[in-house]
Amino acid sequence: MSAGAPTPAHPHPDGLRTLLANLLALPRRFRGSAFRSGPLRGDRSRSSFIFGNVFLHLHAARVHRWSLRWATTWGLGIMALSAFLITLLTGVLLMFYYKPYPEVAYESIKNIHFVVPTGRLMRNIHRWAAHVMVIAVLAHMARVFFTAAYRRPREFNWLVGIGLLVTTLGLSFSGYLLPWDQLAYWAITIGANIAQSPREITDALNVTASFDPGGLQKVLLLGSDEVGEEALIRFYLFHVMLLPLILVALLAVHFWRVRKDGGLARPADADARLGPPHPATYPVFTEAPQKTYHLAAVVRGQTPAVGRGPEGTLPAMPHLLYGELALFMLTTGICLVLSVLLNAPLKELANPAVPENPAKAPWYFLGLQELVAHSAFMGGIGIPMIVLVGLGLIPYLDREEQGTGEWFGGPGGGSLVAQAAIFGLLTAVGIEAFAIHFGWLRQWWPGVPQLVITAVNPGTVLTVVYAAYSLWLVRRFNSTRAGALGLFTCFLAGFVVLTVIGTYFRGPNWEFYWSPAQWPGH
């Protein structure tokens, strides 16, 4: 806007007068220097509004109509990001008062709850936004999977996404210890011992003395052999520094790749399906012959926008940005309503002498805890690793094209997913019911070696059954995508079943109860 600044009609020698004029022009010039684009009139200014702003220029200036449909994404990625931003803001605020030292930490949370202005609300929002974030991230992953949006050229972004999922869970888990209450102490004690669980294998092989990755993991995590002040300062470091940095870095890559990989995945015939374009979508190139391809057109490599042109697109401002803002406000609203209705839990001060019974991890880990009840290594490390590796392999094994960008796209489609979901639910419920009712190997043969239990337990059996089912699907539909759909759906169903059992049907000593009202004591 510097060109728009008024110049004196005739240069006057009086410097003071110039100074006065400059002073008077100060507000206007400041506005001009701060905001690069003027009022939003026309597509050019709208585009420059996007790419002239450091925060917004991750967006493409124009977005395809398919991407703007609610049904394409349900806004889950933006919700996850919004929840992250909310936790970030509230988290920074909580850091004003939080003191990472045992007992003092607990007191500082009590202070935040009872006397810090807006502290109770901020802590509640932080807690519930973290839950919303986990849900949104999981749902976002499911959306990407079910719309087959991980396919070429987006394989790598799928991997980045898995990294984001793990980081999100890590953030939640590391935040769990900070209040230093009974819940925190015992959840982290269990978590740290899961990290130590490779000893199940090394002990059985009798090599723990020389090769002990489990012990190393635990000591790295806790800085000690039990949960204490060292562990608290480490978890604080992870929670407020290391993991957020990793998350932000991965987010940057994730968003950048979304653009560079050609925006959101859409079917090849998306334009035809959407019908005639909205009057606002002009054929850009015919009307603006002076526009030239820039450097991207001549360098080698994939720049998917080249050659396809922006037909069928709408300006990101306002169409996309309004939607994003709406989703942000929706997420904020959800977190706020939850926060006003429910206080974030805070139990007694951590007491290493009195274990919580039952000691339950955050809900999204209760599925794992259900598996851990049989084998710490398999439930806590083995099966999660198998699942993560399996997820990472999906885009490299499924090289098909059919159904990209469509819900449940691929052979079999929705009915296959429904069948797989039912199969997954029934199998998981069946195996759990069997194990709860009849017990498992050790109840039958008390002398059974640990290695056998590590290898054969409800979790591994479930994994094998799911894998076999998915291989059968691959053969039946003659399609990797069908197998992937089946496997993913089964694991999702299994996750839901185990989480629900772990959350609602497990009581003291991890016994099965139909409802908490039947718990003994209290």
């Binding site: 009872f114 006397v115 803002l325 926060s339 006003v340």
Partner: protein, 552 residues
């Protein structure tokens, strides 16, 4: 549209949250009510805000005064109001130590239920108001508290000699001024146990009495006999500003609770240690068998009424206590607590107790018996029978006391009786000093009026036929004492410690005379089912019993 709706909802919820925090919080409502009760100029000066007492050394951050404004430094107390009144006069200032250290509860909290600690996940609820004197136990360990009878006796002496005419004690008495309407005020005696008093008071009183011709010195004071002055001294030493707590502790020292329970390392091992029993976490407590509200006070009370119903598998017998006794014991149980604050802040009595080994119980024989022995041997030495347990012997049994020498009694108390419930009370086991055991033995003699019979014979003088003794034992004794003397209905005999202590006279006379009041008959007299044993046969029995000495 979504943007509009979600924004408006967010705005509305934010507005509600702000309204709630700034208007509806408990303490804001309380402070509005307080301001309304203030006189006009006070209302203008009153600043609605959170208030707290912070004492880092005691880890106290107590916000109680946010609502209990009459106790807040610099605020007006509104007399008679349940919330805004000043604190009743006590020796401590809340600004020095905070509130929670005595009363319990959650000082950090600013919502009513949270602050009073009656919410889940807070292990230390407030002490009930009726039991607030139990809070003294957080820091203080009142020393040398006698048994209840001794305490009551001291109080009776105080009242009989009309000390209350001039002196106030625990809020009673002190209406007359010895020097006339404007003259001397007699000192309040409520705290003399902690603050001390002039030990020569009797002489000065006597002198003033002798000098006076009229007025209180002449009419209200009379010479007091020496033993009654001793009773008075005991009573005055127990005046520490917590009469109800001392009463409860005196009851604790009369029921023999320490016979099974240790407190601060002294006591028996049959029951759980009680040193911090008052700090029980209600969250870890089952209230299933407790009628009424699930409060600790109700739990303790019901536990005293019927221990095994409240604590599954508890061996503690129902003691048959009156409700008043239960109330006093509940208060005392609440006082069994320890605030973990630096030793530099400990009061004298706790230092004397925990660092110099001074006793919480008075060390006269009666209190020692009441503290350690009464639960099993009976409050008047008559022995006890509890359902489901072997009967406990009457310790004042004249047959026993006549035969048992002082050494026998001392050693039995110090080392216990293996094979019976009687535990060892020596310094390293039950924690009693030798001097205390000696006091107990001599008091037992005095109390029962039975001295040990002179025994000119040496400890071992019996000659008898052990084989004949074995035949007789199988016929007459094994039914109660066990085939190999291991005990049964009757006590075990094949116990080296016992056999070493018991002289031959003790054994022969016990067999010959029996023990009145127990199932042990005198075998030198015939009964309906058997003939009398001749002295030689008794000697044979003793010789047989002696064969167990050192063989097991």
């Amino acid at each position: 549209m979504l943007l509009l709706l979600s924004s408006l909802v967010t705005l509305a919820v934010l507005g509600w949250a702000a309204f709630h925090e700034n208007v509806l919080r408990d303490w804001r409502e309380v402070q509005r009510e307080y301001a309304a009760k203030l006189p006009a100029e006070g209302r203008a000066a009153f600043n609605p805000q959170l208030r707290q007492i912070v004492v880092p050394a005691l880890k106290a951050t107590d916000r109680c005064i946010t609502c209990h404004l009459g106790m807040a430094p610099g605020e007006h107390a509104i007399a008679g109001h349940p919330l805004f009144a000043a604190h009743p006069p006590i020796p401590h200032d809340a600004a020095e130590m905070g509130c929670v250290i005595c009363h319990g509860g959650q000082g950090l909290a600013t919502d009513t239920a949270d602050a009073h600690g009656t919410v889940p996940h807070w292990p230390a609820p407030m002490l009930p108001r009726a039991d607030s004197q139990a809070g003294c136990g957080s820091c203080h360990t009142h020393l040398k508290v006698p048994n209840l009878a001794t305490l009551r006796q001291g109080q009776a002496v105080l009242e009989r000699h009309d000390c209350l005419a001039c002196h106030a004690v625990d809020g009673r008495g002190g209406t007359i001024r010895p020097g006339g309407a404007a003259g001397l005020i007699a000192p309040d005696l409520s705290l003399v146990g902690a603050r001390g008093y002039q030990r020569d008071w009797y002489d000065t009183h006597l002198a003033a009495h002798a000098a006076a011709t009229a007025g209180p010195w002449s009419t209200s004071f009379r010479p007091i006999p020496t033993e009654e002055r001793a009773s008075l001294a005991t009573f005055l030493d127990s005046r520490v500003g917590a009469p109800k707590l001392v009463e409860g502790k005196a009851l604790f020292h009369s029921l023999g609770c320490r016979g099974c329970h240790k407190v601060a390392g002294v006591g028996g091992d049959d029951g759980p240690e009680l040193t911090i029993a008052g700090q029980r976490d209600p969250g870890q407590t089952s209230f299933a068998a407790v009628p009424g509200k699930p409060t600790l006070a109700n739990w303790f009370a019901e536990h005293f009424r019927n221990p095994s119903a409240v604590v599954g598998g508890s061996q503690m017998p129902a003691m048959g206590l009156s409700e008043d006794e239960i109330d006093a014991l509940v208060l005392f149980t609440f006082s069994l607590r320890r605030s973990p604050f630096p030793e530099a802040y400990w009061p004298n009595d706790r230092i004397r107790s925990e660092r110099f080994g001074e006793r919480e119980f008075a060390t006269d024989g009666a209190t020692l018996y009441g503290t350690f022995c009464a639960a099993c041997h009976g409050r008047s030495g008559e022995g006890m029978r509890y359902p489901g347990m072997m009967p406990f012997p009457a310790i004042t049994n004249p047959d026993f006391l006549a035969l048992a020498s002082d050494e026998f009694l001392t050693a039995t108390i110090a080392r216990g009786r293996p094979g019976r419930r009687m535990p060892a009370w020596g310094a390293s086991e039950g924690g009693l000093h030798a001097s205390e055991i000696a006091t107990l033995v001599s008091w037992l003699r005095e109390w029962s009026g039975v001295q040990a019979e002179e025994d000119p014979k040496p400890p071992r003088w019996v000659r008898g036929d052990a084989a004949e003794g074995e035949r007789l034992y199988r016929a007459a004794c094994s039914g109660c004492h066990g085939a190999r003397g291991e005990g049964g209905e009757g006590p075990a005999l094949a116990v080296p410690a016992f056999l070493k202590l018991a002289t031959d006279t003790y054994l022969t006379e016990s067999i010959a005379r029996g023990r009145r009041g127990t199932t042990m008959e005198g075998f030198s007299r015939p009964s309906t089912t058997r003939r009398a044993l001749a002295p030689d046969e008794v000697f044979s029995l003793v010789a047989y019993i002696r064969t167990w000495e050192g063989t097991r």
